[in-house]
């Protein structure tokens, strides 16, 4: 770890009070950043601790919730409003990492955590386009069990590791940003980039820009929602494939459907094609399998991750079947 300075910010103004040319980085719970700095995957010369910013969860005018960026993953998962109105978000959070890590991790840090691709982490031993732009990628042609089947490029097939973000993606969550000059709002779907030729750019976040919070719109369908995570061990492991889904059936047809996938793509993956295939249809196992096929038609395996395509197909169908219950 290279030496760095440290200061605590207790307000957004303080957090953004750095000199314009400084290269300060924000520190949340540190569960990802401290590790990345220690392993020299990332470098920083100054940290601003934003984990003590006000951490509230508030009702919004449209019946949704506003969640401050410093809210801990544990607190968000345990909030009874989240449990009642967005159970898939609680379940996604609770399936992630361990209780100790969730006690430390913040919403802002979870949104911006980096991939767990082993080649990305292997500074002395592997080439990685995400770490060093243009260096090459040793994952492609290497051990690809954990890599992406959707949205990858020739340059990078690393997956986004977050569970929380998969549920947030399905819920049309909006990220609130502030760089001291301008406050902006971006839907999560526009916040994350696909790797293309620039896998080192992962989000639209500008240098020095702070995530102040997220806004989760009201969503009637989400009352009937869940998150299923398939992994190599039953707890404390990243997703091989995960599915966040919400469904509202009215008069025998699917009136609202939200579907997003984790573990399969460089960003939390909104399954828009599957949603389009289901909207207005009567729920049935056949419809669910066809919708999964529509989403996975573009899936490309690298070898070791080929199992994810049938695994995603069956997990999507199983989760939708569970939500449809007797209606299917």
């Amino acid at each position: 770890m290279t030496p760095f300075s440290y200061r605590v910010a207790t307000s957004t103004t303080e957090a953004l009070a750095a000199a314009p040319d400084s290269s300060e980085r924000f520190l949340g719970g540190g569960t990802n950043l401290v590790d990345l700095l220690r392993q020299n995957v990332e470098q920083a010369d100054a940290l601003v601790d934003v984990s003590r910013l006000p951490a509230s969860i508030d009702e919004t005018e449209d019946g949704g919730l506003w969640v401050g960026a410093a809210v801990r993953n544990t607190a968000l998962a345990a909030d009874p409003r989240i449990g009642a109105r967005y159970p898939m978000l609680s379940r996604a959070l609770l399936s992630g990492a361990s209780a100790q890590i969730r006690n430390m991790a913040t919403v802002g840090g979870n949104l911006l955590q980096r991939t767990r691709c082993a080649y990305f982490y292997d500074v002395p031993g592997a080439r990685c386009n995400k770490r060093v732009s243009g260096a090459g990628c040793d994952a492609i042609g290497g051990f690809t069990r954990y890599h992406a089947i959707l949205g990858a490029s020739e340059q990078c097939a690393a997956t986004h590791p977050s569970d929380m973000c998969v549920a947030l993606m399905a819920l049309d969550t909006v990220v609130h940003l502030d760089d001291g000059n301008e406050k902006r709002r971006l839907p999560l779907s526009e916040f994350y980039r696909l790797p293309g030729n620039t896998p080192h750019f992962e989000t639209e976040l500008r240098t020095g820009e702070l995530v102040t919070g997220i806004q989760i719109p009201s969503c009637r369908a989400a009352v009937n929602s869940t998150y299923r995570k398939v992994r190599d061990r039953s707890s404390y492991a990243f997703a091989l494939v995960s599915v966040a889904a919400a469904m509202r059936v009215e008069n025998g047809v699917i009136a609202d459907i939200r579907l997003a996938l984790g573990g399969v793509a460089p960003r939390p993956w909104r399954a828009a094609k599957a949603e389009a295939a289901l909207a207005g249809r009567a729920p049935s196992q056949e419809a669910f399998r066809n919708a999964a096929d529509a989403e996975l038609a573009d899936a490309r395996a690298l070898g070791g991750n080929a199992f994810k395509i049938p695994l995603a197909r069956s997990t999507i169908a199983a989760v939708l079947g569970e939500l449809a219950g007797d209606a299917a």
Partner: protein, 170 residues
């Protein structure tokens, strides 16, 4: 500002890169907390920070400034009498080599507090309030952040169940 560990104040390290774990072990003579992976993957370094279980390997010591840390050295009574949870680990063979044990015990104490205030886990059926039942399955899931290479997990779960049951009867 100082860092309070088990009731005693310690200076914040000058080098802000020092982890809470290294501060405890290398600078404060508190070697009970263990270094396993140093990257958040094993739980051996678990301590209580303002009562919440956290990983001291991924916490910068400076982040604990002005806060209270409780380590395994602060679990037993001052006269050296074992904490009932420590005794339960002995009663149920909740360890073999003992390397993971300080983390397991700190983690279990934090976990019981989370349970008491009604936090759900991944295996809790009812998310919207209503206390989960204290079961083998719940403890396994809630303690999954503490690995034991000796495979003493069944004894660990039994020890925690005994301690929690005794507490409930008080």
């Amino acid at each position: 500002m100082r860092i309070t560990v088990n009731g005693t104040d310690y200076p914040v390290p000058d080098d802000v890169r020092v982890s809470l774990l290294d501060m405890l072990r290398e600078r404060s003579g508190l070697t009970g907390s263990k270094l396993g992976c140093n990257q958040g993957a094993c739980g051996a370094c678990t301590v209580l920070l303002d009562g919440e279980r956290v990983l001291s390997c991924l916490t910068l010591a400076v982040q604990a400034a002005g806060r209270e840390v409780r380590t395994i050295e602060g679990v037993a009574a001052a006269e050296g009498e074992l904490h009932p949870l420590q005794q339960a680990f002995i009663d149920h063979d909740g360890f073999q080599c003992g390397y993971c044990t300080p983390g397991q015990i700190c983690s279990a104490l934090g976990m019981l507090e989370e349970f008491r205030r009604g936090d759900p886990s991944h295996v809790t059926a009812d998310l919207a309030g209503g206390q989960a039942r204290f079961s083998h399955e719940e403890i396994r899931e809630r303690m999954s952040g503490n690995l034991c290479r000796c495979g003493a997990h069944n004894g660990i779960v039994a020890a925690i169940l005994q301690f929690a049951d005794a507490g409930a009867g008080e």
